[in-house]
């Protein structure tokens, strides 16, 4: 009996000290750490993602923060270098500088940092990871916002199959994300009865695609899909013209969606299809021309407006929206968990089934995104016109792509 009382006394003491601690914490801000390329080759999308984080934190603070604390964002420059990013996250976490983290940009960096988050059991929502292999190595603390690379070109294959096209060639950068993309696209093509006539991988930083594109010309596919980042997307499009390669549909993945793609290529970018995770105008779409989609992007209109106000003249891309959305997920999960405990926040993320400004969010047990949907656009008269999903897209693909001699 006496023993029981001692336990109770001990328990009271402990809970008192916890509540005192919590009170102490209530005065200090809750710090979220991240590293993003602010210089280097991926600074563009990286900066957009960071702007998303910043705006989300600002908006959350205006609504009272989380767990009664103000949120502070600590973001450092990793120049898209994995070792740099690993060192930054490691330092932020071990030196107690942050209470939570958000993911970096660029798949190889996300994977390297995922090991850090895993080691410290600190959940990491990764707004820029679309590589499923990252999630297939037993990691428990990394969560995907993007639709995975495997389904990036689902729209291209669907449009091609609906138009009776028969053959596909696939070229891709020989790195993690484009590899997954290639595997997924091949699978999608087979399922839809298209035969794959050529698959070619090229090393990063390739600038001369003439050998590969000559093979493509010989294979003469109906559809050419390229698993690209930005520079290769531009170079391939340019060299297709030089070598007079004329598929009926040609799509790139990352890079084709940047305004710079058209600025550099001009009319040469016409008819090129691209994949996009998110476009600001999606919010204005109506399913079947009747049912507004705005509900699937709650707050997205306001997000676009305040983004333009907060960062005048800055680029707004799906990285911005995904950054904002990823931060919404993290803060929402902390709120649901009522705690910063890694396991509890992780459990909260795993049960989430909701819409952010970026669209649907739900992950499977491995942290792979299963709810978000891709869109496909085509460059038409200098504009990115969303052409897929066809049920939602008011724009229609200009099909088939005419030979270069007739453009």
């Amino acid at each position: 009996m006496r023993w029981g009382r001692a336990v109770i006394a001990g328990f009271v003491f402990t809970s008192l000290s916890i509540s005192m601690l919590a009170r102490g914490d209530a005065q200090s801000p809750l710090r979220i750490g991240a590293s993003l390329p602010q210089t280097g080759p991926y600074a563009g999308p990286g900066q957009n993602q960071l702007r998303g984080y910043r705006l989300c934190v600002k908006d959350a603070n205006e609504k009272g923060g989380v767990l009664g604390r103000r949120i502070e964002l600590i973001a450092e420059d990793d120049q898209s270098k994995a070792p740099t990013a690993v060192a930054i996250y490691e330092r932020l976490i071990t030196q107690g500088k942050v209470d939570a983290i958000l993911g970096p940009y660029y798949a190889p960096v996300v994977e390297a940092v995922a090991d850090v988050s895993e080691k410290h059991k600190m959940p990491m929502v990764a707004p820029a990871g679309a590589t499923t292999s990252i999630h297939k190595k037993g990691r428990r603390f990394v969560f995907m916002m993007f639709s995975p690379g495997e389904v990036y070109l689902e729209g291209l294959i669907d449009m091609a199959a609906r138009r009776g096209l028969k053959t596909v060639a696939l070229i891709h950068e020989d790195t993690m994300f484009p590899r997954g993309l290639a595997a997924g696209t091949l699978e999608l093509a087979r399922k839809r009865g298209l035969s794959v006539v050529l698959v070619e991988a090229y090393p990063p930083r390739t600038t001369d695609f003439s050998a590969i594109l000559t093979k493509v010309r010989t294979a003469n596919p109906d559809v050419l899909a390229a698993g690209t980042y930005f520079d290769d997307a531009v170079a391939i499009t340019r060299q297709l013209r030089e070598l007079n390669v004329n598929p009926k549909m040609f799509a790139v993945t990352v890079g084709g969606d940047f305004p710079e793609f058209y600025q550099i290529l001009g009319r040469g970018a016409e008819f090129v299809y691209g994949a996009s995770q998110w476009e600001a105008e999606l919010v204005t779409f109506r399913a079947g021309g009747l049912i507004p989609l705005a509900r699937q992007y709650p707050g997205a209109r306001e997000f676009v407006e305040s983004y333009r106000k907060e960062f005048p003249g800055a680029a707004l891309s799906y990285h911005s929206a995904s950054g904002y959305g990823g931060c919404q997920v993290l803060i929402g999960a902390i709120r649901r968990a009522g705690s910063l405990d890694g396991e509890k926040v992780r459990d909260a993320i795993l049960t989430m089934d909701l819409y952010t400004v970026f669209g649907a969010f739900k992950v499977d047990k491995a942290g792979i995104q299963i709810a978000h949907k891709m869109a496909m656009f085509q460059w038409q008269d200098g504009k990115k016109v969303i052409v897929w999903p066809e049920e939602l897209a008011p724009g229609k693909p200009r099909f088939p792509t005419p030979p270069w001699s007739q453009r």
Binding site: G288, L290, I291, P292, R295, E391
Partner: protein
């Protein structure tokens, strides 16, 4: 090889001439959507393609959509008539009546018309006797079934609000059917006419937990979309006229599929383009009528879907 080239070269002018001989048919399209991709239009295109009429090569479309504004419809119909299209393809009564008023000469093929005789679009279903024929969606007749579906899902349901645009004749006809059917189903149907968007916001405040909504089949002033929003945000069950709404969050629908009506109408369109007179083509009843249930929305609203509905439903969204 050389011979073959000469032969091909000699044939080319003839091929070009043959193509020029028949310019593509021009189909004018008139509906109340907010974009060119209304499902009836998508269905029409798919149906025509199956019948050998390829978009661009054999047929082109001049699509006018009026964004839920009935007052814009007459003007758009007159423009299509003036543009000299070969046929006007309409969706719903407002568009069809506007096309009828705009031309007695250009054939009109309609879809999404609930009761073409009652609304004065045709004299008789078997012999339309004018330049119009099309697909009757039977939507007015199906209103009691729609209420029944709602009641089957929620046996405790007592009160159903029906908001509709006051000037929509077919919506008024639907309300009459709903009021007739209500006592038999143990329901009170509360009709509320809306003439302006602000009014709708006011009327929505009358909703109480436990109520349900009957959405109109006409999207004037965006009323069904607003009802869908309210249904999901305030967790008020709502029944719609077609599956499209259920696939985007509506709880339940009973009625003719929009896209299927377009596909069905394509047969009439093709016949008319190839020379048959519309008055010789009887109005057809929609051939695809579905009961659709959104199980995810059911969970959100706390509705337990009875087994008999699960077995009967044509489409279940999970």
């Amino acid at each position: 090889m050389l011979m073959a080239l000469v032969v091909i070269a000699a044939m080319l002018p003839f091929a070009a001439e043959a193509q020029q001989a028949r310019r593509p048919y021009r189909v004018g399209v008139l509906n109340e959507a907010w974009a060119a991709n209304h499902p009836t239009v998508e269905g029409l295109k798919a149906g025509l393609r199956e019948l050998g009429l390829e978009e661009g090569r054999d047929v082109t479309f001049d699509i006018r959509f009026t964004e839920g504004k009935p007052e814009a419809t007459s003007l758009a119909a007159a423009e299509l008539a003036r543009a000299g299209v070969d046929l006007i393809f309409t969706s719903n009564e407002v568009a069809t009546l506007a096309a009828k008023a705009a031309t007695q000469r250009i054939p009109v093929v309609f879809t999404l018309v609930g009761d073409p005789v009652a609304t004065g679009i045709v004299k008789a279903l078997a012999r339309p006797e004018a330049n119009l024929t099309g697909i009757s969606s039977l939507t007015t007749e199906l209103v009691p079934k729609r209420l029944e579906a709602l009641k089957t899902l929620i046996p405790t349901l007592r009160r159903v609000f029906a908001f509709y645009h006051g000037a929509d004749v077919p919506s008024s006809a639907a309300i009459v059917r709903a009021l007739e059917a209500a006592p038999r189903l143990g329901l009170e149907v509360v009709p509320r006419t809306v003439m302006a968007p602000e009014q709708l916001d006011e009327l929505l405040k009358q909703l109480r937990p436990g109520d349900a909504l009957l959405a109109p089949d006409i999207a004037t002033m965006d009323i069904p979309a607003v009802m869908l929003e309210v249904s999901l945000a305030s967790r008020i069950p709502a029944v719609f006229s077609s599956e499209l709404w259920v696939s985007h969050g509506g709880l339940v629908s009973y009625g003719a599929d929009y896209r299927a009506q377009g596909v069905q109408a394509a047969r009439l369109v093709a016949k008319i383009l190839r020379g048959t007179r519309p008055q010789d083509l009887p109005v057809e009843g929609a051939d695809k009528i579905d009961l659709a249930v959104n199980l995810k929305t059911a969970r959100l609203l706390g509705v337990t879907v009875p087994r008999k509905v699960l077995l009967r439903a044509d489409l279940l969204r999970r």
